[in-house]
Every structure is written in C-alpha cells, then in structure tokens.
C-alpha cells in the first residue's frame, strides 16, 4: 500500500506570525488556538489552511473583523513573497452570537 503523502511542515516562524496576527485581531472574540497546515486547494494549487478555535465570547463576532483579519493574512503572505492563498476555517462555540444575525 502506498504511503499517505504528508503535507510539508509549515515554517514555525510563519506559524507564529499568523498566530500573532490572528490573536491580535480576533482575540476579543475568544480566539484561543490556531493551527496551520499546508495542502492543495480544490484547484490543486498550494494553499495554507488555518484552523482557528474560539471559546464562547460575550462580544458577538463581527464578520467585518474576520474579513479584515483575513485580508491582513493575505498581506502577510504577499510581504513574504509566499504565493499560497490562506483559507481560514473558524470554529466557534455553537452558542456564539454573530453581529447582525439573530
């Protein structure tokens, strides 16, 4: 049986920079943990997949803040000449409120 191909590890310094950026911008919504892995997106292009886990926060999550954090993440990679596109998967508490939604 062929070995399962493993995604190459992400540079730990880049992981730290991503974590720092997201915690600075999204910490107020309860962001606790960030995981970064490499892979291919659905178009088979190299990508960074970022999983962000949050605890329940009293402050409703602001979708605009999520979008701005994502934009900052794209800029971080552009500054480093990193061609990969970052896809952030936010894992919120099931009771978390989101601004603008019931």
């Amino acid at each position: 049986m062929p070995a399962t191909p493993r995604a190459p590890a992400v540079d730990p310094e880049l992981v730290r920079a991503i974590e720092e950026l997201l915690k600075e911008r999204l910490g107020r919504f309860g962001l606790e943990r960030v995981e970064v892995r490499t892979g291919l997106d659905h178009a088979d292009e190299p990508a960074l997949f970022v999983d962000a886990w949050y605890r329940l926060s009293e402050e409703p999550v602001d979708p605009e803040a999520l979008a701005e954090a994502h934009r900052a993440l794209v800029d971080l990679l552009v500054e480093r000449d990193d061609e990969r596109f970052p896809y952030v998967h936010d894992h919120f508490d099931k009771k978390q409120r989101v601004l603008g939604f019931g």
């Binding site: 659905h42 178009a43 605009e64 794209v74 552009v78 596109f85 896809y87 919120f92 939604f101």
Partner: protein, 155 residues
C-alpha cells in the same frame, strides 16, 4: 440584498435549535453563487449594457462566458497583488470570491465537511460586504476586473 443571499440567510437561520448540514451547505452554495452572479452581471452590463439590453442574446452570452476557474485565477491574482492599480474594494471582492468558491467546493463535493451556523452567517455577511465593495468600484476598475476574469492573459 441579492436573491441568493436572502436564500442563504433563510437557510442559515432555519432550524433554530440544530441547523441541518443540508441547509447550511445549501447556504454556502448560495453565498458563492451570489458573488458569481454579481460578477457575471457586471461583465454583461459593462460590455453590453443594462436595462432593456439585458434581454439581448449577446448580454446572456457575456453573462454565461464567465468561467469559475478562470475567474478564481484572475481574482486570486488581484487579491495577492501589490499593484496599486487595484483598490482595497477590488481586493476585498477578490478575497471573498476565492474564499467562497473554496467553501462552496467543500460544501458540494466533500461529504466529510460540516459547517456551523456561525461560519455560514459570517460568510453571508462577508459576501454582502464584498458585493457592496464591488458596487463601489469606479467604471474603469470594474471593467478591468471583469475583462481579466473573462479573458486570460497570453503567456
């Protein structure tokens, strides 16, 4: 709000206690198609015209000429460019389009993927903001954006 996003909201807000994955995945699909539809409409409006011209075959031909992969490729370049030609609004639309297409692919083709209501409502809100951003672009920048999505650069 575009029809697709209204549908997405209804689906995401249905089943108040425990949203079904089927509803959430259809909402994710609708989010992507709201952006795709807006892009295709912009292309046809700018190249053919709006109002009565939307009834013309050539308007429909342009609308249908936008290809998912080529649009993603062009918009990903805009998202990651340092070229000052592109405004923050253009990059915002480009970001959301690329992200929404990946989410839609997961929703439609990866049975192992599940979504939470919070993820989906955030995607809906961001699609609304991206459509507003597209609407704020000046005519020249909109033309530049849609022609890059329609026509590949020669290598």
């Amino acid at each position: 709000m575009p029809h697709e996003l209204s549908t997405a909201r209804l689906l995401a807000e249905a089943d108040s206690r425990k949203p079904s994955q089927s509803h959430l995945k259809r909402a994710v699909n609708a989010v992507y198609y709201s952006l795709f539809d807006a892009l295709a409409r912009q292309a046809a409006d700018l190249l053919i015209g709006s109002g009565e011209k939307r009834k013309l075959d050539r308007w429909r031909r342009i609308y249908r000429a936008i290809n998912h992969n080529e649009a993603r490729e062009a918009l990903k370049k805009i998202s990651k460019t340092r070229d000052p030609l592109w405004s923050d609004d253009a990059r915002r639309f480009a970001d959301e389009f690329v992200r929404a297409q990946e989410l839609r692919h997961m929703a439609d083709y990866d049975p192992g993927t599940s979504f939470t209501r919070q993820q989906v409502v955030a995607a809906i809100a961001n699609a609304e903001a991206a459509l507003d951003a597209l609407g704020r672009l000046g005519r020249d920048e909109r033309q530049e954006l849609v022609t890059r999505c329609l026509f590949r650069d020669r290598a």
